[in-house]
Structures are given as C-alpha cells and as structure tokens.
C-alpha cells in the first residue's frame, strides 16, 4: 500500500511539474502583455477592432481619421518579423511613412521634387550637383537633421552589405562629397544621368544613432527595433513576430497626416491578410492573386506601371574561367528560347507582355527583334547544334509561389517537347547558386527594375555577381557607360539600340515577359484625387497627408 502511495506521489509531482511549466510560460506571456497595457488602451479607444471601428469612428471622426492597417510580408525572405525592415533595400509602404529621402518623385519615378532638400543645381558638365537642405529639420528624437546625416548616409551606403544596388552603382561614381552649412556638393567622376532619381529613393539615416555601428551589420543593428525616423511617423510599439505600430512624429515639419495611427502586421501571406481585412494596401503580380483580389469587392485595384521582368539567365562561365560547356553554343541557347511558347505562358501572369530585350516592345528604343516560338524548328536546331539531348538541362528557380512553380512546370514541358531532358529545382537563391555550384544551366529570375538602365548595368564586366555568370565579358562595358551618362533621349535611345543588338547576339540573359503589377486599397480608405501609385518596391509621392480611413 505504501508503495502505491509513493508512486502516486511521484506521478502527482510529475504532473505538477508539467503544469508549472505551462503556467510559467503563460505567466511570462502575461507579463509581456501587461507591459504594453497602456498602449493597448489607447489603441482600443482610438480604433477598436474592425468590428467596432465604425462606432468609434463616428465619435472621433472630428479628432482623427482612424487607423490604417498595413501588412509586412515575411514570406519573401527579404524581411524578418523581429525588426523594422531597412529602407535601403526595398522601399515598402510602411517604411516610406517613416523615412524620407532628399527628394521625392512621381509615379513614373522620374520627377525630382523637394523633400528633405529644398532644391538642387547641376553644373553644365553634369559633374557637380549642389543640393540645399531645408532649414530646421529634426529627427523623431528631437535631434537636428543636418547635411552631416546626408553625407554619413551616402558614405555608409557604400560600405554596407545589404543595400539595393541602384544606390551603390550611383554612389560609386561620386568623387567628392562635401557640406557647407546646409549646402551639399556632390562631384561625380563621370556623368550619371540617374543620380537625382536615385536620390529620390535613398533614405537618409540618423548619424547620431548609427555612427558607431559596423556598416556591414547595419541592417541587423538594434537600431531597427526602435528606429529614429525623419518621416511623418515614428515607431510606437514593436511586438516581435506580430506587428509594429506607428504614431505621428511630433518633430515632422510638414503638415501632419490625417491618419494618426498605423498598424503593420507581420504576415506570411498578403492575400490572407487582405481577406481577413488586416491590410488596407497591398500589391500583387501573380495572376491567381490578382484574380482573387479583384473578386473581393471591398478592395479597389490600381494598375501600376512597373518594369517587372521575368527572365532567364544562362550559366556561362566564371571569371576564373570555369565553364559550363553545355551552354557555350549560342545556337543551343537560341533554340531553347524558340522552344518556349511565351505568349501562352504569359497567361499565367496578369497583363504580361512578351518582350525580346530589356526594352519593352512599345518603347521607341525597341529594335524590333523577336524570339519566335516554333517547336519543330527548335527541335531541329538543337539536333543540328550537336547538343547531347540525353544530358539533363538543369533549371533553378527561387520563387516558391504557385505561379512561379506553374510557369516552371510549363517550361519544363515545352523543353521536353523539344526533345530535351530537363530538371527544375527550387533553389534558395536563383543567382548565386548558378556560380557557387555551377551545376545549373539556366536560372529563372524576376526583377522589378527601378529603370531600364538597371537591366543593362547588370551586364557590366565589373559586376561581381554577373561577372561570375557571364565570364566577365567586357563587350558591354563601353555601351553601358554610354547609356548611363547619356543626358538626352536621343543619346539614350541610340545606346539602348546598340545594347539590344549585342544582348540578342550574346543571349546570356533572355527576357520572357514583363508582368503587370496591381496595387489594391481597401474601400475604407479614401485616397485623394489624382494619386497614382508607383512601383510598390520604391517610394513616390502619393499625397499621404490627405489619406483618410473610414
């Protein structure tokens, strides 16, 4: 009898232990939640949940204009759910509200209008730019925003690792960067026509918070858990793994926006967030997503003009001379393009337009060349080229969404019809995998280009990435210089035409089509008249001050 009691005691102890474990963790969690009790209360009086929002709003509509909900996706791997994403990589809606650039631009990303800067002047040789900063600018912590911050940001951008290459490509042309009071002088080594456009995107970061941070690890610094901002909003609360909220930046010098609070949910999937009403703004460029969003009648769709390329890269050789023999014959590469019916494939994407070079067919600069689909011809050309059809062609792709998988499956099918054996692999990364293993023949990529020039600057022989794929071929270099330094439309078109011919002759990088991008806004948001959205990965003026939420 005693024994049983002992056993029962032991059992009981185990149970108590496990209950304690549970209690411990839920207790810890309770602590977390109480910590932010204060902001909770504020949140519920300001907006409440979406169900009760209407009643709250009627009471408060005079005071403020409700809460805007945004979604920050962690599904694409470029952002994580434990910090504010850096504005130096993609400029997403949430960070656009927090960080400003020297200038702002319109939906075509070509205009240059004042933002942090009042204005600028260019010398006649297009080598010297003088930029005048506005007076009395302040960061969200009350510190003054000065020319020092601008110079610090540009210099740091050249040293950091995670940054969009449009900045490094432009800033590497800067030979001298000086400040005198609030006047900044930028001197270039060669003319760079896009420099001001690039500055409309480049977010200025606070020197006083970041000067002691290793630039290489800048994007992972604790700064991003509570950033000092220059925009209309400052961070209110970051709840790791769940959301971050924004409040008005009291030091913002412009007109305060009508929307006083923004909630950014970390989501793995935009569509579910939209369906659940957790985001008032989202964008999509896959057919199934666009189709679904158009069905939701509480969302309004806006088509956006974006150069979103879907393209192939043939894995040629590295600068070390290591070759991928199978793809060396240009006839094989061209035959592969001939085997794929791109017109049919474009049905998988919304508003996809087949294109034959980096220049869309409807541009003036387009040279008229076409890759036509002819399955029989392709089959013949592959045999004539002497390519061993029993050898597996390896394609790698890195987008894991259904549309990309569908597209790849279709391409595999077309190539098999042309008599080839094909294997498609989902890789972690569509570009570096090409040369780190040199095991793949073709990489499938997507690129939302800032401008046409960005497509062509990838060919430059000093490009550390693509040099490893195109073997550091220098054939493009002089033409690319001609393009980036061209100051008028004629010279640009001239350079583009020459580049297209070279591009089509080499067939290293072959575009399939550009795909349409749509921005969707919830109907509870009132957007002022005349607003046009730009490429959702960049920043432009959308008159946010006058947005309202019902």
């Amino acid at each position: 009898m005693k024994k049983t009691i002992k056993k029962l005691l032991a059992l009981g102890l185990c149970l108590v232990m496990s209950v304690g474990l549970l209690a411990g963790c839920s207790g810890g969690n309770g602590g977390n939640t109480t910590e932010k009790e204060g902001s909770n209360e504020k949140a519920s009086t300001e907006s409440g949940s979406s169900d009760t929002a209407s009643s709250d709003d009627t009471q408060q509509s005079s005071a403020d204009s409700g809460t805007l909900k945004l979604a920050v996706t962690t599904g694409d791997g470029s952002t994580t759910d434990d910090k504010i994403p850096t504005p130096w990589y993609n400029r997403i809606f949430s960070t656009n509200l927090m960080f400003r650039s020297l200038f702002t631009t319109d939906s075509t990303l070509t205009e240059v209008n004042p933002d942090l800067a009042e204005g600028y002047e260019v010398s006649s040789d297009a080598l010297t730019y003088t930029i005048t900063l506005k007076e009395g600018l302040k960061w969200s912590d009350g510190e003054a925003l000065t020319a020092d911050d601008v110079i610090f940001s540009i210099n740091t951008a050249l040293k950091t690792a995670t940054i969009n290459s449009i900045y490094t490509a432009a800033f590497s042309k800067i030979s001298e960067l000086t400040a005198d009071g609030n006047v900044i002088t930028v001197k270039l080594t060669t003319p760079y026509s896009d420099i001001m456009k690039v500055l409309t995107q480049f977010a200025i970061l606070p020197k006083h918070s970041l000067e002691n941070v290793d630039p290489l690890k800048l994007d992972s610094d604790v700064f991003w858990q509570n950033p000092v901002t220059s925009g209309m909003y400052a961070l209110d609360e970051l709840k790791v793994g769940n959301y971050f909220t924004l409040k008005l930046n009291e030091f913002y010098e412009g007109t305060a926006p009508k929307i006083t609070k923004v909630i950014n949910y970390f989501v793995s999937d935009y569509i579910t967030a939209a369906q659940a009403g957790n985001t008032d703004y989202m964008y999509a460029n896959a057919a199934d997503q666009v189709e679904l969003m158009k069905v939701l009648d509480n969302y309004k769709s806006h088509e956006v003009g974006v150069l979103f390329y879907k393209y192939f890269i043939f894995n040629m050789k590295g600068v070390d001379g290591k070759e991928n023999e199978a793809m060396q014959n240009v006839a094989v590469r061209k035959a592969i393009m001939k085997a794929i019916d791109r017109v049919s494939l474009s049905a998988l994407y919304p508003n996809a337009t087949v294109l034959n070079s980096g220049v869309p067919n409807n541009y003036e600069a387009y040279n008229g060349f076409e890759y036509t689909f002819d399955a029989e011809e392709a089959k013949k050309e592959i045999i004539e080229s002497g390519y061993d059809v029993s050898r597996k062609i390896k394609i790698c792709y890195y987008n894991n969404d259904q549309t990309s998988i569908d597209l790849i499956n279709m391409i595999v099918y077309y190539l098999e019809q042309a008599g080839l054996t094909v294997e498609a692999t989902l890789s972690n990364d569509g570009t570096t995998d090409l040369f780190t293993t040199r095991d793949y023949d073709i990489g499938f990529k997507g690129k939302a280009a800032f401008s046409l020039n960005e497509w062509y600057t990838e060919y430059i022989s000093s490009d550390a990435l693509f040099a490893n794929i195109f073997g550091g071929d220098t054939a493009f270099d002089s033409l690319i210089d001609e393009l980036t330094s061209a100051t008028d439309q004629n010279a640009t078109n001239e350079a583009l035409k020459k580049l297209q011919e070279l591009e089509q002759e080499k067939a290293y990088k072959v575009p399939l089509f550009t795909v349409g991008t749509y921005v969707f806004t919830n109907s509870r948001v009132t957007i002022p008249d005349g607003v046009t959205f730009c490429n959702p990965l960049y920043s432009c003026d959308i008159n946010f001050t006058n947005w309202e939420v019902k």
Binding site: D269, I271, T272, Q275, D288, Q289, E291, L292, V295, D341, S344, L345, A347, L348, N400, D401, Q402, T403, I405, D406, I408, N409, M410, V412, Y413, E423, A424, T425, L426, T437, D439
Partner: protein
C-alpha cells in the same frame, strides 16, 4: 531430441486448433464492417492507381486553354493550375504516395524489428548502445535532416525522402519489439529452446518473433498512413519530392495559393480526399487487424 523435433513438438500444440482458429479470425474480421471497408478501399485504390499508371494516363501535358477548369466530362476531376488533368495526376500520384508509405513502413519495421530483437534478447551493452542510437535518432528533427540531405545531394528526389523516412521511422517499432522481447525472453519455451542449444538467431526469429508478430503487423499497417501524411506535410513546407514527380502531397500543395482554396475547390479537394480516404481505410484496416490478431481480446 534434435532441435527440429523440438520445434515440431512446440508447434504441434498450435497446429491442432490452427485451422479453426484461422477461420474464427477470418470470420471475426469479416464481421468488422469498418475493417472490411478499409481493406476494400485500400485494394481498390492501390489497384486503380497501379492500373492507371501502367495504362499510361497522361498526367503531365498542360492544356493552356483549359487552365483551372471545373470537373466536366472531359476532365472528371477538372484541371490544375496549368491545365493538367487532375484525375490522371491523382491516379499517378497515388502510385508514388502509396509506394512511399508502403516502402518506408515495411523497411522501418524490418529495421526496428531486427534491432529490437537483438536489443531485447541480448540485453546488456548491445541493448544500451542501440537504445542510445535510437534516442539520438528520435531526438533529431526530421526537418533538419531533410534539409541537410537535400542540400548535400543537391536535389529534392524521391530517394532522399525514402532514406530519411526509413532512418527516422524505425524507433517506435524498435521500442515495441524490444519490450516484447524483454518480457518474453524469460518464458519457459525460450528457456527450453536455449537448453537444447538452438542457435540464438533461430530462437530470436524462429521462436520469439512469431509471438510478437501481431503488433508489428498492426503498426506496419498504420505506419503506411503515417508516412503518406508525412510526405504531404513535407511537401507543404517545400521540402518534399520535386514537383516533376507527382505525389498526393505535391498535388495538394496547390492549396497554398489562397485563390485556389477559395475559387478552385477541385484542385485541392480531390487529392485531399484521396489522402484522407486512403489513410482512413488504412487505419480501419489496422484497427480490424488489431482486434483479430490481439490474443488478449479473443
């Protein structure tokens, strides 16, 4: 008396009633409607898949004009996101899924049984050693293994998955067999066999194993279902078999796209139903077998 004579002597007792016992068990099984249902479904689905695959159903030609078309007389399950016939895909994918389930569960049962027998019968250091190994395998997250092997081999192939499922799936059978052996090895007939100098492997596999066969058969059966579900789950996280090999899990993967879930029910309902039905049937079958084979419930 030779060991042969002993064996026949030992078996004689069983044999007397064996035919009537078999009949009784068969009747009991046939009376279990769920188990019978399970058996019939498993047989029909397996045969259907195999026959379909041999007949060469076209599971891979996309039809760009009939993307996502609803079930019709032309495509009785409809077509998928790139216009391939879903019926053919479910049939063809079934072959792979069922194969994965059966192969992995049989292989892992064999490994588990052999190791369990050795461990339980010999005990001592060997037992301790194998137990440690099994604990390490048990503790190792399958996901990480899959990821490492995929990265090392460089492809998401069927072979990888089979290897991983087998090496991470034998531990439950192992523990079960070991425990059975531990409790059985003290029984008189084992002692008698040992006394007559029967070889150890014969005692283990000839004498003791038949007595613990029932739970092994039952767990092998239900494991088939487990592995099929595992495959589907791995596909969902993106670590399953490559897309060019259709499996039920791969086909069901389309349910990742919210638009498919809401607008094209047939794309995920049919493969989902196939998995569910098959797993259900296997479980009923396993339950029935347990009822029949379990001596305690005679």
């Amino acid at each position: 008396m030779s060991s042969n004579a002993l064996k026949s002597g030992l078996q004689a007792g069983n044999k007397n009633g064996s035919t009537s016992l078999l009949k009784k068990k068969l009747r009991k099984f046939l009376n279990n409607k769920l188990a019978l249902f399970g058996l019939v479904v498993v047989i029909i689905m397996t045969l259907g898949c195999v026959i379909g695959a041999i007949a060469g159903v076209d599971f891979k030609t996309p039809d760009i004009k009939n993307l996502k078309s609803a079930p019709s007389s032309l495509h009785i399950f409809g077509t998928d996101t790139i216009g391939r016939d879903l019926f053919s895909r479910v049939i063809y994918g079934g072959c792979f899924s069922i194969f994965i389930g059966v192969f992995c569960s049989v292989m892992s049962s064999i490994i588990g049984t052999v190791l369990g027998a050795i461990s339980g019968y010999f005990g001592g250091k060997i037992d301790k050693f194998i137990i440690r190994i099994s604990e390490i395998f048990q503790a190792f997250p399958q996901l990480v293994l899959v990821m490492m092997i995929v990265a090392i081999v460089g492809e998401r192939g069927l072979k990888n998955l089979l290897v991983i499922f087998v090496i991470t799936g034998w531990m439950t059978t192992y523990r079960m067999v070991r425990n059975e052996f531990l409790s059985v090895k003290g029984e008189t007939y084992v002692k008698v066999s040992e006394a007559f100098g029967m070889s150890k492997s014969r005692i283990m596999f000839g004498q003791i194993l038949p007595n613990v066969m029932s739970p092994i058969i039952v767990s092998t059966t239900t494991n088939v279902a487990f592995f099929i579900l595992q495959e589907a789950a791995l596909s969902f996280i993106g670590l399953g078999v490559a897309d060019s090999t259709p499996t039920w899990g791969n086909i069901l993967n389309a349910a990742k796209s919210v638009s498919v879930v809401t607008n094209q029910w047939w794309i995920w309902v049919f493969p989902g139903l196939a998995i569910t039905l098959f797993v259900l049937a296997i479980n009923f079958l396993g339950d029935g077998l347990r009822d029949v084979l379990d001596a305690k419930q005679q």
